[in-house]
Symmetry: C2
Subunit: 297 residues, 2 copies
Amino acid sequence: MKPRLLDPFAQEYKQLLDTELRTLVEKLNAPPIIKESMIYSLEAGGKRIRPLLLFATLDAFGIDPHRGLPAAAAIEMIHTYSLIHDDLPSMDNDDLRRGKPTNHKVFGDAIAILAGDALLTYSFEVIGKISAEFASPDALIKLIIEMAKAAGTEGMVGGQVADMEGEGKSLTLQELEYIHIHKTGKLLRFSVVAGAILAGASQSQLDNLSAFAHHLGLAFQIQDDILDLVGNQQLIGKPVGSDTANLKSTYPQLLSLEGAKDALQRQINLSTEYLRETGLNTNLLEEITDLVATRDH
Amino acid sequence: MKPRLLDPFAQEYKQLLDTELRTLVEKLNAPPIIKESMIYSLEAGGKRIRPLLLFATLDAFGIDPHRGLPAAAAIEMIHTYSLIHDDLPSMDNDDLRRGKPTNHKVFGDAIAILAGDALLTYSFEVIGKISAEFASPDALIKLIIEMAKAAGTEGMVGGQVADMEGEGKSLTLQELEYIHIHKTGKLLRFSVVAGAILAGASQSQLDNLSAFAHHLGLAFQIQDDILDLVGNQQLIGKPVGSDTANLKSTYPQLLSLEGAKDALQRQINLSTEYLRETGLNTNLLEEITDLVATRDH
């Protein structure tokens, strides 16, 4: 089979996912305002990196990525709910996300809270309804448990709490990693693990893919911090280290810019090694890894 | 087997549930503050009517109600999350619940939102982990889907949205019933249905128990409205119908007090009939129904 290129693959499945998300919400028998609010944030754009990881993982097993649509939709619903709640006045108090007014600015705080609740709840219904052709009942239960863990206090919610508690404090490298691994890492990792579970991966493939995604997630965060710094320097000539002033802990601040670049390379190497261990056709996942390492925005 | 009496039964299982809830949260590997916040609201008291319905349903099938502990804990987590979010300043803005400061008054709005999110998410992990001795994988998936539907936009969240949208408006009986059936009815019904699924009920038993719980839920709400009115009369001599002034729609307001009492009796009769159809040993469920019909507070 000819290896697929990431760009057209990503475009094709992003479109399929967008349609799936809209269809899933539209068919709900519920007050129109809550459906509008859910769709508003689901369609607010975004890179859809989590669904892409899931689809690319299925492709690595030679399985039609279409099978991953409901699970990808469920994961994107959880990601979207977390953004809606994070943006609330009592949390990060953001008025804009990707240039669009945030959910609560359009629908009010009460509907925004409920839209988040609704998306989180619906994600479990959507994943629970995956056809028996695509996943055995045991695989489905495993998916559900892993998704709840990735999203809950031992995952995303725990990371958000730690992030809030760390605000205005100078963090250790260990504390910074705890936040990243939990707040964003666990759901990214679940996206890959979900693909592996749906594909009927062996335990060692599951372990290797899980480790791959763990290191990829850390690489992503380190590159984020580096870009923030380099971007700022080019844009407003802010000197390296000025983040220290507002006590925002970042990798370059804790490790120096060179140290952060080394750490990034180390995480990329580790993720690539784990990927190789799987013995699968991982060209799409490799392209995603390259993108993370070399992206400039 | 000698039929059990409701009072000691309720006390025994309330205690077991309290221990189960605390144990489930304590074992989470998460920032202490979020666990404290979750436990604070889980232990804020309450009648535990949903778990009791689940335990009593298992008893009706002659099955040890202990088996229902994880499912009962999951349902109580969902109920508790909904109270935490409903009490928030942007929702009902309540400072007290059952005489105790509400979650956000103690932990702040951000942690309260996250504690609600965490409880909702954890409920799916807890129910997903029910031992294979107690439920087949297919039964478990059915439980998960039904729980998500009862809690989401087609259930509790949808009812809360409709309730908010109806504020300050004069509702029709149909609109009032939509709110009650969804906001509280669906999760009450799921509590009975969950017991039936765990017990391996036949489809007709499932249908009858579901109808029983539906009518019991409505009876509960009608009695609530009646007690509000009668309680107020005894307490402050407020005349019947004064609720009309603040446009709060209630059964007595829409049907008159006598009409509401008739409606209550009709719902009680219906629930009792459906219960009888099951052919099970439903003495505990009957006692609960009697309590709803005759309770004075």
